[in-house]
Amino acid sequence: MSADPTQVLAFETDCHIFDGCGFPAPGLHSFLFEPLWGDADSNLYFNKTMLLALLGSVIIVGFFWAAFRKPKLVPGKLQMVAEAGYDFVRRGIVYETIGKKDGEKYVPLMVSLFFVIWMMNLWSIIPVAQFPVTAIISYPAALAGIVYILWVVLTFKKHGFVGAFKNFTGYDKSLGGVLPLSMTIEFFSNLLVRPFTHAVRLFANMFAGHTLLLLFTIASWYLLNGIGFAYAGVSFVMVIVMTAFELFIQAVQAYVFVLLACSYVQGALAKGH
């Protein structure tokens, strides 16, 4: 293995078009990182995405610590910004889906989820880091897992064993003969597919976004030779456009993830079907 673990760029820098080397297209290998510490085979290592994930947490906590440690009745600029973010999740997502009375309890969870995901996504366009942590399935899976466990536990707590089973399977007598089929589908859809799609939706969006950014970035560099300069310019414009688009998608995906989490919790708290 000759890969340099400290290498920042995801491609070879001395390869250009007409030089006789092929286009170093981005691929799955773009999402693999050599450990900064430890051994990849031992499951005991520390790599770039872990560093970014933990650094992101530190940044979020630092931001809210600075804003909310000693909050004032008349907020300063930082507190105002933080309050706007907090209020967006609290009112805009939690109260809207779960309701104010039942939702209050889940506000800290949803706020944390939103900002953790957003921060992990944001790493995608932050210079030097430039990798969306959520494009590694483990991170969305961990967060979706928390929501999933919360949802299952809440459903059992709220409806008891039989009620929860009815809730999971969408039991509805009026369906008549189709009921067994409908229950089977609902059971798989809710208990097995739902957590998977919840995690993959976020993962796939960020994965694809990062691949696109990589593609245009690498192309911009690769085309810098002869007539390729003109095409490199076009490609670089695409890099800028896609970066702006990613900025938007990052926020949207964080929003969607939390919105779905809220609607799952709401479904668990709601009266039986």
Binding site: A3, A40, L54, V107, S138, Y139, F203
Partner: protein
């Protein structure tokens, strides 16, 4: 073949299979944020938001109270003003009535005085006339008897006085004058 592609060929596996260490770090990253936010920072800001809400609502309540008070004071003033107007109207009315009564009284008084004066004048004139008539009657009688005496040559004065001839004559004259009138 560049080393990265080689690496990919060696290690690329299904990207949907989550590596465990990343999973653990992901959970830790979340728990760090959740711990700080849920235990300390969000309760902090919630308290302040609640205080702010109360401050704003308190302000609104104060403003409401002030408005209510202003309204009641305004009504009080209006009532007082209306009362004052009413009172003024009443006084004016009274004054008018009193003025009318006084005028009436003064007129009556004037009338009365005028009548008194006129009556006194009439009485005076009557008295004067009577006095003049009686004096005239005496004088006429005396002149007539004197003249008759001179004509007859003796004094008829005492006789005429005794018999009342003159008076009778004059009465007859008066009666004639009355009849002519």
């Amino acid at each position: 073949m560049n080393p990265l592609v080689q690496l990919a060929a060696e290690e690329a596996e299904n990207p949907l299979i989550p590596p465990i260490p990343e999973l653990v770090i992901g959970l830790i990253a979340f728990v760090i944020v959740f711990g700080f936010l849920a235990k300390k920072l969000l309760p902090n800001i919630n308290k302040v938001l609640e205080e702010r809400r109360e401050a704003i609502e308190g302000g609104i309540e104060k403003a409401d109270a002030a408005q209510t008070e202003a309204q009641s004071v305004l009504e009080q003033y209006k009532a007082q003003l209306a009362e004052a107007r009413h009172e003024a109207a009443r006084l004016r009315q009274e004054a008018q009535e009193q003025g009318a009564v006084i005028l009436q009284e003064m007129r009556a008084e004037g009338q009365r005085q005028r009548e008194e004066i006129v009556a006194a004048g009439h009485a005076q004139i009557e008295a004067d006339r009577k006095a003049a008539a009686s004096a005239l009657r005496q004088d006429v009688g005396k002149l007539a008897t004197d003249l008759a005496g001179k004509l007859v040559g003796e004094s008829l004065e005492d006789h005429a006085r005794q018999s009342g001839t003159v008076d009778r004559f004059l009465d007859e004259l008066e009666a004639k004058a009355e009849a002519v009138r």
